[in-house]
Symmetry: C2
Subunit: 153 residues, 2 copies
Amino acid sequence: MQRTRFGDMACSIARTLDVIGEPWSPLILRNVMVGIGRFDHLQQSLGISRKVLTERLRWLVDNDVLERRQYSERPPRYEYALTVKGTELCDLLMVMVRWGDRWTAGEAGPPVLYRHHACGEIGYVELHCSVCDRPMDVTGIDILPGPGAAVTT
Amino acid sequence: MQRTRFGDMACSIARTLDVIGEPWSPLILRNVMVGIGRFDHLQQSLGISRKVLTERLRWLVDNDVLERRQYSERPPRYEYALTVKGTELCDLLMVMVRWGDRWTAGEAGPPVLYRHHACGEIGYVELHCSVCDRPMDVTGIDILPGPGAAVTT
DNA sequence: CTTTGTGCGTCTCTTAAGGGAACTTAAGGG
DNA sequence: CCCTTAAGTTCCCTTAAGAGACGCACAAAG
């Protein structure tokens, strides 16, 4: 099958996918984000095979998205937590939640809600421009080649 | 291999992954987004196998992310374009670009830049709260169970 | 009116990825 | 002592995913 690796492509989307594109990885991240950081808890809550969970965790730790830290000396026990790099990946999850809520809505409504500390209200994420702070989406931008431009044909 | 399907999970992230979580799907979406919508162009620009491209395109069309439209009567020729649902998925791609630029930077700098029509400047996307418009990330929210809450153990 | 070329897919065959269960290590408890 | 828990590791088996060859419709060229 030899899956094509995305890590070497001159594309930030491909390189991001290389880190968290594997099946299960975003869900592992989601669970760590909400405080499920131990091996068995992850395995049970996801219903993932232990083998795959081991692989994914190792990959995420090697890529500095998660860190493995010992929370008990004797017996030695470990849990996984977000690094700064991993914390910023959660932006991606929040955008996924938004899209999933909007377009693949279950009958029962959204499974999670976000309360924003700054305003105290239940809200969702929107994309804004880093320069002018106004809303920004793909229909309101020009896409230009940057310094590390890829060939797109 | 019997990969676990994510589509039935009570989680918007899982359901979003069910739609665009397969390898290649986000890159196909990216290319359609920048105007590469024909089968052969997609195949060549991605270096994807034709079989996989066919499968992914059919899935994305069936899931209403892309539409297949005829641009020539004789001979019959088709191209793929974003639906509204697909256009909103591009938010996800823009967030990926942002993270990839920041954390997996190539030597040469970002391959693409966004010019925001509203302000005319080169910017990137940031997450803001839909209620108060101020920045919002995972460290500044409480995650609460919603009406369609899943069991997280 | 056969040949060449293009656009879009299907077919076949291999391989590796995922699932699941058993095994391991290291300790604590009764 | 044997059982339990946490955190993996190792094994085998199935299956489906991917690559690349092949097919086919149609048009223009010669």
